[in-house]
């Protein structure tokens, strides 16, 4: 009925997590705009082709990263000194600003897209099972995280209900509009927090009543970790290295030093 899991979904989640973390850390050492741009395009291609993520989902998931990237770009363009002066329409800015700003912005997009390969193509249960199996993360931790994840899914609904429930108490409210004052939002956040604490108490009891932590456990769906999973990780890192080497040969890669220059 539904197509089978995609290549990105099949990839062992622990290896995937390690690869994404390595790439994201490595990206911090590069300060030119071209290298993260190539990385970002490759990550997008992987998400679309190997992960079969719908374009619309991908675009929506990018919103927070685009906002952050844009603000990084603007801040650097406006405030960073150094280099020749450049005229951008009515503005006159230092040339280093747009370059570094673009680099930081593209780096944000690249790290964002890399983390999306984790978020959009990994089943949380599989990730936690794999972390328990392959890096010996205690089961009590992994399942507490999963239970918390379940709680998170229902928070938006609870938030809306609480805002309605508190708004209706104001005799001077405007019908059809929920209050957005910091005080109103604070009161709603407090009620949400109390509810979440109460729920997590009940979930803790439920986790125990399912026998979590009673002794050695078995795994219904062991997550395979084979040579191909590791090979995939190595291949991804080799591609990344190749991008950097090409950049070094082409002369456009710069290191952390450029930030303070």
């Amino acid at each position: 009925m539904t197509p089978g899991p995609t290549a990105l979904e099949r990839w062992n989640p622990t290896v995937k997590l390690a690869t994404v973390l390595t790439l994201s850390t490595a990206a911090l050492l590069v300060t030119d705009p071209v290298t993260p741009a190539i990385g970002w395009v490759l990550a997008l291609a992987a998400l679309l082709v190997l992960g079969r993520v719908p374009v619309r989902t991908l675009a929506l998931a990018h919103v927070p990263f685009v906002v952050l990237a844009t603000s990084l770009l603007v801040v650097n363009v406006v405030t960073r000194p150094g280099g020749d002066t450049v005229h951008l329409g009515p503005l006159t800015v230092a040339a280093d600003g747009p370059t570094i700003g673009a680099a930081l912005a593209l780096r944000t997009l690249f790290v964002g897209a890399a983390s999306l390969t984790l978020v959009l193509t990994t089943d949380p249960v599989r990730l936690m099972t794999s972390l328990h199996q392959h890096v010996r993360l205690p089961a009590a931790w992994t399942y507490a995280v999963l239970a918390a994840h379940r709680l998170l899914v229902e928070l938006p609904d609870a938030w809306h209900t609480i805002r309605c429930a508190q708004a209706v108490r104001d005799p001077r409210r405007t019908p059809g509009r929920l209050p957005r004052s910091p005080r109103a939002l604070g009161a709603a956040a407090f009620a949400l927090l109390v509810g979440a604490v109460r729920r997590s108490e009940r979930l803790t009891i439920a986790l125990e009543s399912r026998g979590l932590g009673s002794g050695p456990r078995t795994t219904a769906r062991p997550v395979p970790l084979g040579p191909s999973d590791v090979a995939t990780g190595v291949a991804v890192l080799l591609v990344a290295a190749a991008v950097v080497v090409v950049g070094l040969l082409g002369g456009w890669v710069t290191g952390v030093g450029a930030l303070t220059a």
């Binding site: 399942y143 429930a165 979930l203 439920a206 986790l207 399912r210 026998g211 009673s214 078995t218």
Partner: protein, 591 residues
């Protein structure tokens, strides 16, 4: 039992408690006091008592959550399937003791149903090759086989409770402990889950045909429940607890319910209809001609009796709330530019008159709560909602904690009045506190109140300004009988004082008791609007709207109606014969 030592081969009792006292919290509030109870292996016990009597605490002590997971102390003798829960961890005890909690959504830990069931088996180190078949068998055994691939957050309350039951049964425990498994379900789901649960107490263990050999004995069950009419067959023994956490009665169910009927009603417990009738002095069981006549006389006498004829709302035909062509959308506004989802409630025309209680009933997901929010101007609406006075309506939400904004009960009640800038603030707040018996709690933190106290607080906050229109969403959900009666009394009282009241509920007895008119909402549209009798006598309508008449109203529809009995009068008459404190103040039961 005395002969226990003479039978060395016998399985240990499922539960044996002697002088069991339990305190909870860091301050050591005593909740259970010197409880003695024995549940022989393979039998069931029903635990009854008003809210705050320590039923849930008993459950938590049995499964070891107190004192291991939550703060508290357990003293006295306590053995559960041969173990002392204080000496083993709750997770270890869980291998032999299954637990089902009250809230359907808060006891499923994982995001998919089959993951949840496999999780319970994995933790016990079950053979991975058998997990899928055992999980499927456990789901089938509770009639939930079709749910195995569903996401847990999309399950209805009844479905979630079935899955929780399957997850508790999948490891084939010796003892199953259930804490009000139907309390938060609508009547149809409560009936289904109730019958399922009652069946467990009578069925042999391991009914799932799993690979493990069935045991010779039956499974033991400790069932905390107050909706006894939903259960069908009750467990053979009953333990009744009083408001002070002491044992009121313990013994065979039939004897405890009959001999202590009045006491249990006074404590705020619901009883099965047969027991209520007997306690009220009926000449025989329901269906006997003499009983039918007696009940009809009782109801007719009440119509003109103490309750008095209600001033006809048609007499004061001023519409306090006028609704025309109302559509209501659900959820936050302006979410992207996606094509707008169709409205949840469509084309509702409705007038609610001053002095009238309008009760809205209908199936889950039919749009009842959304309609109320639409009337309150909290969701996106099109069409017309007008109040006669022009001022916004007041509303009581299902969960009182969602509405709390202040740090003391007094400030909570005063909050709306301050915003409105009324001149007689202190007087008003004092009167509202007094009306809902909250004066002694005026300085308490609202979050620390019990469920019943929080409900009274939410009613006090919603009525402090004497609103022309009061809306209430499932105001009796999860309350015990005395608290529910007090809530019904308050809502009716608001209407009798000249307000217009709209109540959403699943409880048809409540509808019959307080409603002047009943609206039936199915699939977001108004399917019917009429007097309680017109709605309750319509079998086709009841079936279409998932309205399951409780036994008393079922008798009315089949027999009482033909004898000129009004459903509301019938419900009120039987309530009046039993003793129920009308304001629901039960001193000493506030914990």
């Amino acid at each position: 039992m005395a002969e226990q030592s003479a039978l060395p081969d016998r399985e240990p009792d499922a539960v044996r408690a002697a002088g069991l006292s339990v305190t909870v919290g860091h301050h050591g509030a005593r909740v259970l006091d010197e409880v003695h109870v024995t549940v022989p292996a393979g039998t069931g016990v029903l635990v009854l008592g008003p809210s705050g009597c320590g039923k849930s605490t008993l459950v938590r002590a049995l499964v070891g959550v107190v004192p291991h997971t939550l703060p508290g102390t357990v003293s006295g003798v306590l053995r559960v399937v041969g173990h002392d829960p204080r000496d083993v961890s709750p997770a270890e005890l869980a291998a032999r003791v299954g637990l089902v909690q009250q809230r359907p959504g808060d006891q499923l830990c994982l995001s998919r149903v089959d993951d949840e069931l496999r999780f319970a088996l994995e933790n016990r180190g079950a053979d991975p090759r058998t997990l899928d078949s055992r999980a499927a068998a456990a789901l089938d055994a509770v009639g939930a086989g079709h749910l195995h691939e569903r996401a847990t957050h999309t399950l209805s309350g009844g479905e979630a409770q079935r899955v929780a039951l399957a997850a508790a049964l999948v490891a084939d425990p010796d003892l199953l402990v259930l804490d009000e498994p139907t309390a938060l379900l609508d009547p149809a789901a409560a009936h289904e889950v109730g019958v399922l649960v009652a069946g467990l107490a009578h069925a042999p263990a391991a009914p799932d045909g799993g690979p493990h050999p069935p045991r010779s004995t039956h499974r033991s069950v400790v069932l905390v429940e107050h909706r006894l009419d939903e259960l069908g067959t009750l467990p053979e023994a009953t333990l009744a607890l009083g408001g002070d956490g002491r044992v009121v009665a313990h013994g065979p169910t039939d004897r405890v319910l009959r001999e202590h009927a009045r006491e249990l009603v006074a404590l705020g417990c619901w009883l099965p209809l047969a027991v209520r009738l007997e306690a009220a002095g009926a000449p025989g069981p329901l269906g006997a001609p003499a009983t039918d006549a007696w009940l009809a006389d009782l109801a007719r006498a009440t119509t003109v009796g103490a309750a008095g004829p209600r001033p006809s709302p048609a007499g004061s035909s001023r519409a306090a709330l006028r609704v025309h062509g109302l559509d209501v959308h659900r959820g936050p506004r302006r979410r992207g530019r996606r094509p707008a989802a169709p409205p949840v409630v469509r084309g509702v025309d409705l007038d609610v008159r001053a002095g009238e209680v309008l009760v809205v009933v209908g199936p889950n997901g039919g749009g009842k709560s959304t309609l109320l929010r639409g009337l309150a101007g909290l969701e996106r609406t099109t069409g017309e909602v007008l109040t006669a006075s022009g001022e916004p309506v007041a509303m009581v939400f299902q969960d009182p904690e969602h509405q709390l904004v202040a740090s003391t009960v007094r400030d909570e009640v005063a909050w709306s009045a301050r915003r409105a800038g009324v001149p007689d603030l202190d007087d008003r707040v004092g009167r509202a506190l007094e009306r809902f018996s909250l004066t002694p709690l005026a300085d308490a933190n609202p979050y620390r109140l019990s469920g019943g106290e929080q409900r009274r607080l939410s009613l006090a906050t919603a009525t402090v300004l004497d609103p022309a229109v009061l809306l209430a969403d499932e105001p009796t959900f999860g309350l015990d009988r005395a608290q529910a009666a007090a809530t019904a009394h308050a809502l009716r009282g608001r209407a009798d004082a000249g307000g217009a009241v709209v109540v959403v509920t699943h409880d048809l007895s409540l509808a019959a008791e307080i409603a002047d008119r009943v609206a039936v909402l199915v699939d977001g549209t108004l399917a019917a609007l009429g007097s309680p009798s017109e709605v309750l006598e319509d079998d086709a309508l009841c079936a279409r709207a998932g309205l399951r008449r409780p036994p008393l109203l079922d008798w009315w529809a089949r027999t009482g109606r033909g004898r000129g009995v009004e459903p509301g009068a019938l419900v009120r008459a039987l309530d009046a014969v039993e003793f129920v404190n009308p304001v629901g103040v039960r001193p000493g039961a506030s914990s």
